[in-house]
């Protein structure tokens, strides 16, 4: 589904490379976890893959279903079924969650020549997704992330994921800032959304999240590259010995 080949990227207009040759293949039905210390380029990878204009790809390609999406605009990537759950969800005052989601859902439907939902149909559809993340329906009529607590913002990301039903989702530190109860709800939601038809890439510092969402693959990212890949035992090893130890070992 996703194939990243030798991806190099810089912040637009700057010299310093943040990604220095990332290779990653994700197939449908798989759950991947990317771990790594601060500043290793994990979050940047998720932004570059989803088309953030702040970054410029200087080398390498991103293929989605065999199609080169490296230069595509963010909205076109979303139409293909790419989703990013933001580490810091953005506030947009004056626009309700419901309005955003209906616009987004119907825009994606149009792009894929699927039928759009009218406001009443969409309302029913939306309400049917609330349970996934234990969301109260008053959330739907609140402005996007405006005045939400940190935990509510993260929940809202996963709710949007449930509604838009993407084929590939990047979850950028979705676990950070969540207390244990919220973490259970959020990861429970992700597990409900996960299916053999879609794929998920989780980006996290901690092994804690992986107790709730079981990855098929674990990758360690350091200094702009994936330096080691394995199964869940790699995460356990990291938790026991830390990133420093692994870095020394690799050196």
């Amino acid at each position: 589904m996703l194939e990243i080949r030798n991806l190099h990227a810089v912040v637009e207009g700057e010299e310093l490379k943040i990604l220095k040759g990332v290779n990653l293949t994700v197939n449908k039905g798989e759950i991947h976890a990317i771990m790594g210390p601060n500043g290793s380029g994990k979050s940047t990878l998720s932004k570059v893959v989803s088309g953030h204009p702040e970054y410029e790809v200087t080398e390498g390609t991103i293929l989605f279903d065999g199609k080169d999406i490296t230069e595509m605009d963010a909205d076109e990537r979303a139409h293909l079924g790419l989703f990013l759950a933001f580490q810091y969800p953005v506030e947009v005052p004056g626009i309700t969650n419901k309005t955003l989601l209906r616009e987004a859902y119907n825009t994606i439907a149009r792009a894929n020549e699927r039928e759009e939902l009218d406001p009443l149909e969409f309302e029913d559809y939306l309400v049917s997704k609330l349970d996934i993340i234990d969301m109260k329906d008053e959330f739907l009529n609140r402005s996007i992330n405006t005045g939400f607590s940190g935990g509510e913002k993260k929940k809202n990301e996963i709710f949007q994921m449930a509604v838009l039903n993407p084929r590939l989702s990047f979850l950028d530190e979705t676990d950070s800032g969540l207390d244990i109860d919220a973490l259970k709800v959020v990861s429970g939601g992700v597990n409900k959304i996960s299916s053999p038809e879609n794929a998920i890439v989780m980006i996290t510092h901690y092994q804690r999240l992986l107790n709730y969402i079981k990855p098929d693959f674990v990758h360690v990212m350091m200094n702009g590259k994936i330096v080691k890949s394995g199964d869940i035992s790699l995460a356990e090893e990291l938790e026991a010995n830390g990133y420093d130890h692994m870095q020394k070992e690799l050196a």
Partner: protein
């Protein structure tokens, strides 16, 4: 400059749709201002002696005054000797029937989306159409008269309802109030007059549509709205002008009077020509608008969507004289290209337990400059009064400016004033967030802006809210692709 900013900047280049000129034969005055010109103007309009006296007194006051310079805008001062103070389509008949209206002018209003035929109009909206210096036509007059409501041009009111005009004109904004109010008081040529009798709810929305057509004429309109005890009315004005390279002056005076329990809602959709990218041409919009809540429990509410004009200096204000009276100001000011706007309000609390709310949203793009200037003054006797102000500014791109100048004073301890101000940039993060959800860049920007101004636009009469939304989209569209 990032892609987003570039896209935003280009979105702003959208063509002005109302910039055409209408070919009409004018009956013009010689250019310039003098006592003779004013006498001639007054006699041409067949005015009573007291009106001429009012004009001449104002003119003499104006001669002694200086053009103000305290605002946050720079422009070439109008050449008052080179202006036409009266410019009316030739052979303007007494317009009781639409058939008498020059077909060219009728077509102009059709093109502007304001058909003058009653059956074609928005249901429930009466229109007074003002073309350069004169009122062309007022619709639904008879229907309104059945309810006792007077809605006509101010010229007609001076003749038909002299007692009312004499009593109230200049009572809220005296001629000496400021330089442009004095000038207007001397040379105003037309405008609208509304009178809502006691305990009457005006059965229709009233509106005036201002059109400046003649390149050399200034437009000096005068509006007077009186709501008697227990009366209520909603009034809306719209404005457009052709695109000329020269600046044109629009100096209006609007006075509102609300008696006990009366309620006046005044909305403006201002879309004068704003000049080109280089700041050439466009309207100088220098208007004085003020209402007085004379009676207890009265209410005056100003809502404005200001998108046009090269330079706007405008502060619709409320004097809260009656106890428990309410003043409101809801404003969206959008500036693009080289536009300059210095706009805001004054809330003067004099009566007990008076309340005022100010919600101002400024959007600046291009090389424009957008300032909010507002005064809240709570007097000694205005015990238990409250004001709440919010001034939010949104910047699009890197080369525009937004400023806030609040002036607050309270002379008694039992009153409270709250002021909040924020400045935000239409952030790349916001745009990216919405685009990541599948929404196009243009729609994303439109959503962000609409979200920003929602609190204000919801105050517009329903019939015009849609138009306002469209106008905003057009104004800021083009910023993308």
């Amino acid at each position: 400059m990032s892609e987003e900013t570039k896209a935003l900047e280009s979105m702003i280049g959208e063509e002005y749709k109302y910039g055409f000129t209408t070919d009409v034969e004018y009956e013009d005055f010689p250019k310039g201002i003098s006592e003779n010109i004013i006498r001639e103007l007054s006699s041409r309009k067949d005015e009573p002696e007291w009106m001429l006296e009012f004009r001449l007194k104002s003119y003499n006051a104006w001669l002694e005054m200086k053009e103000p310079e305290w605002f946050n805008a720079t422009y070439t001062k109008p050449d008052f000797e080179n202006l036409l103070y009266y410019s009316a389509p030739k052979n303007k008949p007494k317009l009781d029937s639409l058939d008498d209206v020059d077909p060219n002018i009728k077509e102009t209003y059709d093109k502007l989306g304001i058909p003058l035929e009653e059956q074609k109009m928005l249901a429930g909206v009466a229109v007074d159409a003002i073309f350069d210096s004169v009122s062309i036509f007022t619709s639904f007059k008879e229907k309104l008269a059945e309810a006792g409501v007077i809605f006509c041009s101010i010229s007609e009111a001076i003749k038909e309802h002299p007692d009312l005009v004499k009593k109230y004109i200049g009572s809220v904004i005296p001629a000496r109030d400021n330089y442009y109010a004095a000038l207007n008081s001397a040379v105003f040529s037309d405008g609208s007059f509304c009178y809502i009798p006691k305990n009457t709810v005006c059965p229709m929305e009233l509106s005036t549509y201002f059109r400046i057509n003649n390149m050399e004429s200034g437009q000096f309109e005068r509006t007077l709205i009186i709501a008697e005890e227990g009366a209520s009315v909603s009034y809306l004005e719209g404005c457009t002008a052709p695109m000329y390279d020269e600046n044109q002056l629009h100096a209006a005076v609007v006075e509102l009077v609300a008696m006990d329990h009366a309620d006046i809602k005044y909305s403006t959709i201002q879309n004068w020509y704003s000049g080109d990218e280089n700041g050439k041409g466009g309207i100088y919009n220098f208007v004085t608008k003020r209402g007085i809540c004379k009676g207890d429990h009265s209410k005056i509410s100003w809502t404005q969507l200001e998108t046009g004009s090269a330079v706007t200096l405008k502060y619709p204000s409320v004097i809260l004289q009656g106890d428990h009276s309410i003043g409101e100001f809801y404003s969206v000011a959008v500036t693009t290209k080289k536009q300059q706007a210095d706009t805001g309000t004054k809330m003067i609390h004099l009566g007990k337990n008076t309340r005022s709310t100010i919600i101002s949203k400024g959007i600046s793009a291009g090389d424009s400059n957008n300032s909010y200037r507002g005064e809240v003054k709570i007097g000694k006797k205005a015990i238990g009064s409250k004001n709440y102000s919010v001034c939010d500014s949104m910047l699009i791109g890197q080369t525009c400016g937004a400023h806030t100048f609040p002036y607050i004073s309270s002379e008694n301890a039992s009153s409270s004033v709250e002021h909040e101000a924020t400045t935000s940039r239409v952030g790349e993060e916001q745009i990216f967030y919405l685009m990541q959800r599948g929404i196009s860049e243009q729609d994303a920007i439109s959503m962000i802006i609409n979200g920003f101004v929602k609190d204000v636009l919801k105050e517009l009469p329903l019939e015009f809210a849609v138009e306002a939304n469209k106008l905003l989209d057009i104004k800021l569209e083009g910023s993308v692709g």
